[in-house]
């Protein structure tokens, strides 16, 4: 086998992998807001921290993007009150109340 045939095999793998890539790919997070996100919906939220409780190893905070909601982040953070943040989160019901389960938080 020469390098041309080897390249051809690589090309076939690219085509198969590419097809699989486009079939399996779907947007996981899109920019959204608290009021437009349904329960169990994921999204990227931008807003401000109104109040924060640090309970090691997790963090609880009130998040405001025009509407307010309780947010739960299962890790320790250095976040403070009035910080502007971007959240990758899922809206869910906890103890009968709407809450954001935060996967990642980025301080702006």
């Amino acid at each position: 086998m020469n390098e041309k045939k080897l390249s051809l095999i690589c090309l076939i793998i690219i085509l198969v992998g590419g097809a699989l890539f486009f079939i399996t790919y779907q947007n996981d997070f899109k920019e959204t807001s608290i009021d437009t996100t349904p329960i169990d919906g994921k999204g990227i939220f931008f807003g401000k921290i109104e109040y924060i409780i640090k309970q090691s190893p997790s963090t609880l905070f009130i998040f405001n993007d025009g509407n307010t909601i309780m947010a739960y982040y299962p890790k320790e953070t250095t976040l403070e009150k009035n910080d502007f943040v971007t959240l990758y989160a899922e809206k869910q019901i906890y103890n009968g109340k709407e809450e954001l389960y935060v996967y990642k938080v980025i301080k702006e």
């Binding site: 086998m1 095999i9 793998i13 690219i14 992998g17 699989l20 890539f21 790919y25 779907q26």
Partner: protein, 386 residues
Amino acid sequence: MIIFLFLGILTGTITGLIPGIHSNNVSLILLASPLFGFEALIFTLSMCITQSFVDFIPAIFIGAPSTDTFEGVLPGHKLFLQGRGFEAICLTVFGGIIALIFGVIFLSPFSIFISESWTSMRFFIPPVLLFILGIIIFNEQNVKKKIIVIFVILASGSQGLMFTDQIFPLIVGYFGLPTIVYSLNKLPLFKKQAEEINIELKTFFEGIIGILGGIIVSILPGIGSNLAAGTIRLFRDKIKTENYLVLLGSINTSAFFFSFSVLFILEKTRNGAMVVLREQLFFTNEEYLLGIATMLLAGGCGGIITIYLAKKATYFFSQNRTKIFSIISIIVMVGSVLFFNGVYGLVVLFFSSTLGFFVILQKVNRSSCLASLIIPTMFFYTFILY
């Protein structure tokens, strides 16, 4: 999303071409970046898989081994000296391609096996690692060398226990820096490199065996692709240089392929890139399938890029250029250690390089230095499990 794929392939190509820079280090930067979820997944996997192919270009043409390919230096250089450097690279690409194709086929039985048997299997990790150390010792030709290897195992094991979280300078010191510095004044005479290659299809079998090596690397902590290749070589009678390069290429690629599955099934990590991914993923089926697709796509691209760059390299490299690139490699390695591990890393690099030089001068199996990873892992599993 495609942009992250291209970025990953580009970064993997760069990290593969520059000895001393590893995709694991670049992945760590991801932790501080806003990349997350699918973006992080596509970028990291495409970078790692591409690097697993491109890695062999500096290992064979510049003579600067990376942490994954140092076992490939000798067989690769053998062909390079015969003017078959391009063929040596293509053989590793062939191995990587076999790993991708058959890796997908073996993925399902592997997933079932690992999820069913991990609980009992982990009890065998310390004895298996001890067995591998035993193989390294008993494989030496005479008593003097056996004693030297035992000393190296104890010394590198002690360094591994002392310098925790300093894996990068340890590996660069054992396998990277001493090799290049040692070879600076012993560079081979340049021989005109052949542009035509002929890969025998029967080397295909070595690629399949390499997948087994990749599985071993993805499961057993402390075992790198190089050591897996060395261990497989011990169980097979005379293995041809060409076959060994296919084996190594296959192990290098399948190790990442199966490490990703181990991450999803067991949430266990075997390298820096997977540690980063564990923090950035949600472990959904969609992510798993997208990860496999990304690795196939990037692997195919990595293969073509490697063939193209290797062809260019055959024109480009002459003795003088090899020397310049060796010096650049040394600067990059030391700079990377300083950047990622600070001054303390340089201190660790000094000690590990000293041992690395000793091993080269004594002409004993350099895999013995991997005791710096194996012994701490044995200790960890022994104290946790027993």
